[in-house]
Symmetry: C2
């Protein structure tokens, strides 16, 4: 077997995630591994849970990172909360709503789907109508920040409607967390999951989740076993704690991904240093600058202004421009990654992420400058100088 | 929120895993993150699959790391191969056989359990009798290296019996891989899973798996959907490849844990540099040295000699000695982690691991020296000097 060490190139990650990792987070990753039952590590786990509560704006005792990527965070919510036969209303306005539907089916539930156009928010009126028509629905699930389209849905309103009809809520906050306002307790969300590699700017592979007491009560009172052993919260909580008030002993369930958890801890410490509201504001300010630059180049955002996410910008690909050529040139000539379209939007849009540490002044300029140069080279005739000027005019003056 | 960076102590890990990470593997972890669909990363993924085939001694095209810990590797095998109603023979001789049984139930299968004493190998005669009595059994599952007891079972013989009765095999090789001979193709194993944090000496959080063509055929021909979306190989293979010969396009399924995969690649490169047979031999040689030292101290191994694993040594705790006191002193005074007993063996044994980079000359001396000193301090009256001498006499002369 003939292989040598892998030396990755140094990219700037402005796609739909992973985002760039701050050097502090990369350094945390390579600290010496300790045992997953080491008391010192247990202390870090407790602090990590507090930091996640801060990020989610919640006091939920069941707040922890699942030892697997965001998709497993989604599955943790569905496989624990959905019992065979449960009716679950799923709001679909992009790829990830569709994935929620799949999760309901595999957990043995019955999905009731509401469709909204890709690139638009979930319509609260349709949710209310659907709940009126299905008074026996038990759960409402939707995506706050649709990573496939860049659309932002109104979690506060949707959760309020769900609660009024006696349903638990499952909210996808993979791209939302730390990039857009998300107030788990104030908005009465019952189960929420995220990913480490978006606006937390950590290495991919971890899925922070938080469950309300109402949600936890449904998990512990299940009549049927959870269909996953690995994700069964009744077992996982024996290790992470949070199942029983005052629990101090940790029992082995699986071997936690020790180094990745160091990194998540560090990225959450950095978030706390910045302040969660400041992080939301930084994403919004840089989004406005990126948008100013893109619009000055004649490019259009897919999502209507009132429903746009700051951290994920879906841009229509101009007529006559080849999607793959542009992305390949940005990657090969500028080490800049932007995202392709997904699902129904494949080939039609680029997805430009401004997530976590990727969301900073110099990256706006790199992205506008490189994209403008490549488009011009392909004959698009854009005024890159004017675009850079427009972006700079909209940029916040303070450096991050 | 008031928290600061976490600085872990520098431990020597001689428990049941995680093992120590080599500095090269730690360095790989903190290389710059690239996108999970970056073509450069795709090249590394292909190399990683080849390296895993080398470690597993297989040509199986479906050979890849699951993006989650070893427990999820186990679940990947069961949730994909077991269909509701399938009879699965599970050989239980420790904690992990019991966990397999749980996995069968949650996948909707019917477990037929064979029990062997903890600390002993699985009895091939009982397996044959059970298969005679259950001609409709579809799968046989067992643990090659029981991490909870240190017992090694005869995978070659068990797999041969299973095949003779028309059953697929699922083999737990979490602790076996790279520490004990494991010949997936020669022995006709159908599905096997491992963990990154044992004898591969990588960070915890990844689960290498390999499936034979027969196993893959059962997965793709399922009448019912796999109960897990995250672990459904029909979907995962769209990203990792291996489902279709000649597949080159990678489609998004979940976001791969990029940095952890760098580390696994590096640890597998190091394994290839050493040679897999040399790695097996190194574990065996150091085990003999550790055993010589332990026996010279009057300590006894739990497992009969012919059934002992080299990489995991369960040692009976001497009468009058408090388990937790000894482990705490080793950890606090020597930064040395050894493992506690698990399940039925809790409080009765210590588990001393010699896995991957933890399996080296200086660690044998540290372990014997520190354990002897602490036991003496507690009045056990052991001759630590003689134990060190015995270990050294048995140690291979060449340094690793």
């Amino acid at each position: 077997m003939n292989a040598s060490s892998f030396q990755p190139p140094v990219r700037t990650l402005m796609g739909p995630g992973p985002a760039d990792l701050h050097p502090r987070v990369l350094a945390a990753l390579s600290r010496p591994t300790v045992g997953h039952l080491d008391p010192v590590f247990g202390g870090m786990m407790d602090e990590l849970k507090d930091l996640l509560r801060y990020a989610f704006r919640t006091d939920n005792r069941l707040t922890m990172p699942v030892s697997a990527p965001g998709s497993a965070g989604m599955e943790t919510c569905f496989v624990n909360l959905v019992e065979p036969g449960d009716k679950v209303v799923v709001c679909i306005n992009g790829v990830f709503g569709g994935r929620m539907r799949e999760n309901v089916i595999r957990a043995g539930g019955e999905p009731i789907c509401i469709e909204d156009p890709w690139g638009r928010a979930v319509d609260p009126g349709k949710l209310e109508d659907t709940l009126k028509a299905h008074p026996d629905a038990k759960i409402v699930a939707f995506v706050q920040a649709e990573t496939s389209t860049g659309a932002s849905s109104d979690t506060r309103t949707l959760a309020e409607i769900a609660r009024r009809y006696g349903c638990l809520t499952i909210v996808d906050a993979v791209t939302a967390l730390a990039g857009s306002p998300l107030l788990v307790d104030d908005w009465g969300i019952d189960a929420v999951y995220s990913g480490s590699q978006k606006c937390l700017s950590c290495t991919p592979g971890l899925a922070p989740v938080s469950f309300s007491e109402r949600a936890l009560a449904k998990v512990t009172a299940r009549a049927t076993p959870v269909r996953s052993w690995f994700l069964d919260l009744n077992l996982v909580l024996g290790y992470w704690g949070g199942g029983t008030p005052g629990q101090t002993k940790r029992s082995y369930h699986h071997t936690a991904p020790v180094n990745a958890l160091y990194a998540l801890h560090e990225s959450l410490v950095m978030l706390a240093e910045e302040g969660i509201e400041q992080s939301w504001a930084r994403h919004q300010a840089h989004h406005l600058a990126l948008r100013a630059g893109l619009e000055a180049m004649g490019l259009e955002l897919v999502v209507p202004e009132a429903e746009r996410l700051p951290q994920l910008n879906a841009v229509s690909i101009p007529a006559g421009i080849d999607d793959a050529t542009v992305r390949a040139r940005l990657l090969n000539e500028y080490n800049l990654e932007i995202g392709a379209g997904l699902g129904a939007l494949a080939g039609k849009v680029w997805r430009i992420g401004l997530m976590g540490w990727s969301c900073r002044r110099e990256n706006i300029v790199l992205c506008i400058g490189a994209l403008g140069s490549v488009l011009n080279d392909l004959g698009a005739g854009v005024d890159t100088g004017a675009a850079l000027q427009a972006a700079q005019g909209a940029l916040p003056q303070a450096r991050m």
